[in-house]
Amino acid sequence: MSKDLDDDMFVCRCEEVTVREIRQAIAEGARDVVGIKRRTRAGMGLCQGRTCEKMVQQILSQELGISPEETGTSSARPPVKPVDFGTLAKGVQ
């Protein structure tokens, strides 16, 4: 894995968050996946971090010298899959 990551490279493509923004969030004090998510929205898009979470973990462990385990995982909230408003509006059986 290359150390000199391009700053403009997207990490979270749903929310279009770049490596630069992730690094900025770490500089501002983010220490785990949730910290990055709150500051940048990485992992808050359609896929809910299914694609980018591991990359966020890798950048965190690289920049902070911590293990992937220490970077944690994001909190899960329903709906875990996108639901359209029309379906929601019909209510729940």
Binding site: M1, S2, E69, K90, Q93
Partner: protein, 369 residues
């Protein structure tokens, strides 16, 4: 709110096997899966599996999927397809966005006595400049395109990763009419089984070990892929770059367990590098730290179809036992047999580390109150 005895999330090998065991014993079982076809990844596996006859060696994955499905139907398992489980609430309430024949969807909450989570795994991505360009995709995604949807992802493919997924999908891409222009692997050696690697070598695919992808280039899709050699600390060596003409990059860089539903119901999790990340803790019945919620298959740690199937069986037997459908002695015998087969699958140079990893997970299970 509808009541069901057992709700299984995921109709892959683990979910179907669990459903079959529970329904065979007399349980009322509903399986929900977000895909339009049941079978999970099995219906993409057009190659023959190997291993022991107990695990249907020599049978193609797609055929194993068909057999499981027929068996599930025989025992009266209800299967909802195109139906995503979107939430899991306190006291085992499963929220399902059910796909209707009309094409519409409706939300249904089900109060389940037992829940079996068999949600599988998702593919890891690899970051390099241009990884978000159209044409870059998971190897599993490419396999779905060619083997399920029968659509070629493109013409010239660079495969990154030489584990079994990378090797098998490379070969199947060639069968589908694609040209695999390079197999790129960061490690010094090919990762997967020799039998799969030989097929790739015989077909003349250039193999670049100790290499990685530096960049995918193109304006609206991949046109060129730049690879470079790696030094001993896995850093690209300047001046070794090669430019390959390709319109597809497939990433076979492992998988990670899907655990969002487990986390929603506050199942205790543990990190395990061998199994691909965070997994729910479970005991020998595959029951999680939340009573009545079982886990099976790749969601408990990324392995393969046969281990998923056996873990599904364990969960199905245990759930049926706790509902009173199987006597303790009978259940114990069947679970012991299943564990023996699982141990057999977790042997040898490829399996042993998974045996240790599984034992670590079993060992960290807290005492049940």
């Amino acid at each position: 709110m509808v009541n069901k005895e057992i709700v299984v999330v995921g109709a892959g090998p683990a979910g179907l096997a669990a459903a079959i065991e529970a329904a065979k014993a007399g349980g009322e079982v509903l399986v929900a899966d977000l895909n339009i076809l049941p079978g999970g990844q099995l219906f993409k596996q057009i190659h023959k599996f190997f291993g022991s006859s107990a695990h249907r060696s020599g049978t193609r994955g797609i055929e194993i999927g068909r057999q499981l499905l027929a068996e599930a139907e025989k025992y009266g398992v209800e299967i909802w397809l195109n139906s995503a489980v979107i939430g899991l609430y306190d006291d085992r309430v499963v929220s399902i966005e059910k796909g209707l024949n009309s094409g519409e969807k409706e939300l249904i909450n089900i109060k389940a006595e037992k829940i079996i989570l068999a949600t599988g795994a998702s593919e890891n991505v690899v970051r390099f400049k241009g990884w978000t360009l159209p044409g870059v995709m998971g190897a599993g995604a490419a396999q779905t395109m060619i083997n399920v949807n029968r659509v070629k992802p493109g013409n010239k493919v660079v495969m990154l990763g030489s584990g079994n997924v990378g090797l098998i999908v490379s070969y199947q891409l060639m069968q589908a009419g694609c040209d695999v222009v390079a197999l790129v692997e960061a490690a010094p050696n090919i990762g997967g089984y020799g039998v799969h690697a030989s097929k790739i070598r015989r077909a003349g695919v250039p193999v670049y070990t100790r290499h990685t992808i530096i960049e995918a280039k193109g304006t609206d899709r991949v046109k060129e892929v730049i690879i470079a050699e790696l030094d001993d600390s896995w850093q690209p060596i300047a001046g070794t770059e090669k430019v390959l003409e390709a319109d597809v990059v497939t990433l076979a860089a492992g998988l990670k367990p899907i655990s969002d539903l487990a986390r929603l119901h506050d199942l205790e999790m543990v990190y395990n590098g061998v199994f691909g990340g965070w997994v729910p803790k479970h005991d020998e019945n595959m029951e999680s730290t939340q009573s009545g919620i079982y886990v099976a298959g790749d969601t408990t740690g990324v392995e393969e179809a046969n281990t998923a199937l056996e873990e599904g069986r364990l969960a199905g037997i245990a759930a049926a036992e706790s509902l009173g459908y199987i006597a303790e002695k009978d259940a114990k015998e069947r679970k012991d047999d299943t564990w023996k087969r699982l141990d057999g699958l977790r042997m040898g140079p490829f399996g042993e580390k998974r045996m240790y990893a599984k034992n670590e997970i079993l060992a960290c299970f807290p005492a049940r109150s």
